[in-house]
Amino acid sequence: MPTITFNGVSKSFGANTVIKEFNAEVPDKDFLVLLGPSGCGKSTMLRMIAGLTEITAGELRFDDTVVNDLSPKRRNIAFVFQSYALYPHMKVRSNIAFPLVMDNFRWWHHIPIVGGLARRAILKRADVAEKVDAVAAMLELTDYLDRRPKALSGGQRQRVALARSLIRDPAVYLLDEPLSNLDAKLRSQMRAAISALHARVRKTFVYVTHDQVEAMTMGTRIIVLNDGVVQQYGTPKEIYDRPANTFVATFIGSPPMNVFLAEAGADGLRVGDHVLPGSRDAAERVISRGSAMIRLGVRAEKIAIHPGDATGENLIEARVAVVEHLGAETIVGFALEGTEGVNVVGAASTSGLFYARLTGEVPLSVNDPCRVGFALDAVTWFDHASGRRVEL
């Protein structure tokens, strides 16, 4: 049951560096999620943990053992591939039992026919059959044990891949976007199943995904990656509430965090043409940092929207660009008056928009004028130049 330690781990393919020096420690029994957009290096990271991809520099430790040069098998891991990677010529039973069969492999099993008979004998052994039946029952695969993978649906194949990873009782489970090929309903079922599995087996899970819902709901810790660089490492709550930079802020959350550009002046913080009421103190603190420009991050649920004729101190004029009715809540996309986002049509109309998440039905339509507001204590502050979170 190891603690996984990354000690300056990096990966390059020729001159192309895909993972830049990475340091972290994943405590035992954690559910670590590697989250990031496509091509950010998260699968490469997982493959390095598995031993399927060589580590270019740095040290990877399982507890006190450096595992850089250990083969995948000797790392005592299980790996679930995005594409399932089942063995198509074997029945489901043989697929699930395969790691156990290989545990009992002897050199003379290389002899043709003899090896085949020996593997069949291992498969029929009571202890092996018992384990296969137990795992199959756990993942509701009992009825499919004598089928071949091609006769299974996507969800069933995914469960076979999971069952195969479970059979050997490894120390670390590595899962590479295992749910990305499933439909939405099955995905949410499997999400719950994997979380329950983690709770039951109490082992370290490392889970790669680009789906933030999976990351937030399943992970006990999340590493957010972008362009091979770790953006933030923390619990889902930390990452949601206190994003380390504007990338994390806009990557996590649906809709993403709104990031307004503001300029500090003598009268307060100015967003577009509007001075935020009651922001004079904050503006002074911004100026004392040496730059007048600052970014304000506000979560969509912290933004209030009022009709265009509403009056109030802390309100900025805006225009509704998108309204998404989701039943229990409504997502309203808006552009600030006097900025580029207004009156743009087509696909470009959603870029540069800000979002508010409102409870229930909201009587707003596209192009309606509105007034938006938020409390300054709900703001996360980001440095204008670097995009990093700052405390004011």
């Binding site: 399932y84 198509p88 395969f98």
Partner: protein
Amino acid sequence: MIGRRNLGVGVRTLLAALLVILAGFPLYWILNTAITPSNTLYGGGQKIFPDLSRSAHLFSVLVTDNSFLRWIGNSVVVALGTTVAGLLLATLAAYALSRYRFVGKGIMGFGFFATQMLPEALLVVPLYSLFASLGMLNQLYGLVLANTAFAMPVATFILKAAMDSIPYEMEESARVDGCGALSILQIMVVPLIAPSMAAAAVIAFFDGWNEYLFATTFITDEHKWTASTGLASFIGEFLIPLDSVFSGAFLFTLPAVVFFLIMQRRIVSGLTAGSVKG
């Protein structure tokens, strides 16, 4: 639409029938000639539909020449030897070409290709001298070796193409599950490329079965002749017993047909379906 579809089926059936006739007629003519009396053949009286009461003459060569069965046996040894050795080497070579990056990979591929450019006749003299100095003349295994050298490159290309289509993830999964390189090849790759192996086996078998030039040059001991050499020996300076020659030709085709029928059942596609998300 339905009329056009029916027309398509009709044309296809006609074309298939034509192909069957084109391919099958020589075989039919062998049978026909084998059961037609020799004097009728030389008298120009061979009929399209022969006298079937003489069907037993299909096997007449077994009576007239009692060495023929031994020669067939030698041919079986050479052809099967070529098939086994060719496939064994080709599988290893194809796996290396398909999965590993190494210095000289391109040259190796070209080298295999180059062997197919050289006619056998060009190599007879140097090979003869090589075999003579190694004491491999008059040995069936020498013939197997020579035939394997020609059959293996073709088999390698066929198997490499099949291996290229096997998803990498499956092999990586096998590595995680505890397979070494040889186990992956044996347990994962070979079963999945079985159809291509069957196709390559047919080619290698026929390479060994039909080979004449090396067989007739390297094997001088009549007991070790292959059937192709034996069959050619029927053609004498003054007498050619055509019915016996064709009876021999008929028997010569039988083991090859049996081998092909066994292998044909394995030449099916779609074995990798279901491994990865398609």
